[in-house]
């Protein structure tokens, strides 16, 4: 193993990203989920900044700053406000129990690692070995969206998935062009506000944020 120290730090942060993804999978409380999402943003921004510093890709500094601003400050703040307004700080039981979810998660991680190995060999970046972790966090966030029935954890899962994709872009190709990144960031922000409005509408119509109620369609 002959990696330079900053790359080792990037690897460590990648492992942290995966750890947080697993913590989200096992977390029942919404407030703790939001905090974990913010920490995932911190890990993501730190790893992006270190990759930028070690490879001289200056546009990555921009995306790291964007990550801090959006995913560590604005989105968690907006979510905390939503939680207070909607008064939903309660434990939510996932649809599949937590140990089973974690076992499925481990299987997904093995799948992602195996899938990423041949792809990573084609990438020319120094951080390519973290591609497997990025893929695994995307799949884990997807699993979280599937196993939760409440609207809020699903949106948090969606954002965690976006974090994973962002990390994949950084590790495979040193990030997307700045225009694309800005576009994605704007998309996420807009989607978030639209979903926030949806939350209120869902609750007004069904008296709860449980999306199971939306499975049956009927005219009133």
């Amino acid at each position: 193993m002959s990696l330079t120290y900053h790359l080792q730090v990037v690897n460590l942060l990648a492992a942290l990203l995966l750890l947080i993804a697993f913590a989200m999978l096992s977390q029942r409380r919404i407030v703790a989920l939001i905090t974990l999402l913010a920490w995932q943003g911190v890990a993501l921004a730190a790893s992006t900044a270190i990759v930028a510093w070690s490879t001289g890709q200056h546009h990555l500094y921009g995306s790291a700053a964007l990550t801090v601003l959006l995913k560590v400050i604005v989105i968690p703040w907006y979510f905390f406000r939503l939680v207070r307004r909607l008064e939903m700080d309660r434990e939510v039981e996932p649809m599949i129990n937590v140990p089973t979810t974690m076992l499925i998660g481990i299987a997904l991680v093995i799948f992602a690692f195996n899938l990423a190995l041949p792809i990573a060999q084609m990438a020319g970046t120094v951080t390519r070995s973290t591609l497997g972790i990025a893929l695994a966090s995307v799949l884990l966030a997807f699993l979280m969206m599937i196993t939760r029935s409440k609207a809020m954890p699903q949106v948090i899962g969606f954002l965690a998935m976006e974090n994973g994709l962002f990390f994949a872009a950084t590790s495979a190709t040193y990030g997307m062009p700045m225009v694309v990144e800005l576009g994605v960031a704007l998309d996420v922000l807009v989607a978030l506000f639209v979903l926030g409005i949806f939350f209120f509408h869902i609750r007004e119509t069904f008296d709860s944020l449980d999306l199971k109620h939306m499975e049956k369609l009927k005219e009133r």
């Binding site: 120290y5 690897n11 750890l19 096992s26 937590v98 690692f113």
Partner: protein, 314 residues
């Protein structure tokens, strides 16, 4: 070889002497953080002395197993504490006494404690023994996985080799060890009957795990068990230090580094004890039926550590 045996003896003696002090330190930190007035630092020694002078009260139905068990538990823990390199790396018995033997020793002590708890036939004793076994059978494979992650890095199951690889060769960050560290922390709280899983200071029998097993013990038997519990905490702390913070342990044949190693060890133990007290104050005891989930998470984290090792470090 003789030097190695001397060091081995010195380390075991140090563990025997320091273990109650560590417990006293953790109790003191906890009392401070809870805003209570702290018991004296040397309180565990006073308790041990008091218990050693008291007469033993035995139940009518107690068999000889009940009387032997504390001695076996104490011997196992003393041996386990001796296996872990705390001061120096030069342990002559390490080829036989590796991490797998260590897990076996801990299991042996646990089996005898559980058997002794069921021996008298009280309700609380068997309740505690069953709970202890429930936690143990989930924690043990996870503990092995944590050790295997370290073994994969150092290509050896001997603790001195692991320490040598991690501390005395070129410094490297191991992401897999980060996972193993979190898993190890969860396991050591469960195995040492600390707060998220069990409350060491509880007086409510229905929530007890470890305390329920030793309710029937008194006098010098209880003293041996209390000492063994302190040794277990010391062993786990020393293991945590050896696996995740090994810098400062004297390398093979370096006698001059020993005094510094002792100082570093005491400093690390103080920090670790304070951290344990802090985390215990911050968290609440979970329901017993959440414990399998907690330990399952620890197991998965340890497995994840191994997977990450293959992805990032090979």
């Amino acid at each position: 070889m003789t030097a190695g045996i001397l060091l081995q003896l010195a380390q075991t003696l140090l563990a025997l002497l320091l273990a109650p002090l560590l417990v006293g330190w953790v109790n003191q930190c906890r009392a401070w953080m809870l805003g209570r007035s702290a018991p004296p630092l040397l309180q565990p020694y006073h308790t041990l002395r008091k218990l050693l002078h008291k007469d033993v009260v035995l139940a009518h139905d107690a068999t000889s197993l009940f009387r032997f068990a504390p001695h076996i538990v104490f011997a196992c823990m003393a041996l386990a504490a001796g296996i872990v390199p705390t001061l120096a790396n030069d342990l002559p018995f390490s080829p036989a006494a590796d991490v797998i033997a260590l897990v076996g020793l801990l299991a042996l002590a646990r089996v005898f404690l559980a058997l002794a708890a069921m021996d008298v036939g009280t309700a609380f004793g068997s309740l505690g023994a069953r709970r202890e076994m429930l936690i143990a059978f989930l924690a043990e494979p996870a503990l092995l996985m944590v050790f295997f992650t370290a073994s994969l890095i150092s290509q050896s199951t001997e603790l001195p080799h692991i320490v040598e690889r991690l501390a005395h060769q070129e410094f490297a960050l191991y992401p897999s060890m980060a996972f193993a560290a979190v898993a190890f922390w969860m396991l050591s709280t469960a195995e040492n009957a600390r707060i998220p899983v069990d409350n060491p200071t509880t007086h409510l029998e229905l929530t007890m795990i470890h305390e329920a097993m030793i309710l029937e013990y008194s006098g010098r038997h209880l003293a041996l068990i209390e000492w063994a519990v302190a040794l277990k905490l010391f062993t786990y702390s020393a293991l945590g230090i050896a696996l995740f913070l090994p810098w400062g342990i004297a390398p093979r044949g370096d006698w001059a580094a020993l005094p510094l190693a002792l100082l570093v060890l005491v400093a690390k133990l103080m920090l670790g004890g304070a951290a344990l007290a802090l985390l215990e104050t911050l968290s609440a005891k979970m329901r017993l039926f959440r414990a399998p989930e907690f330990l399952g998470t620890a197991f998965l984290l340890a497995v994840l550590g191994m997977l990450v090792h293959f992805l990032l470090e090979v």
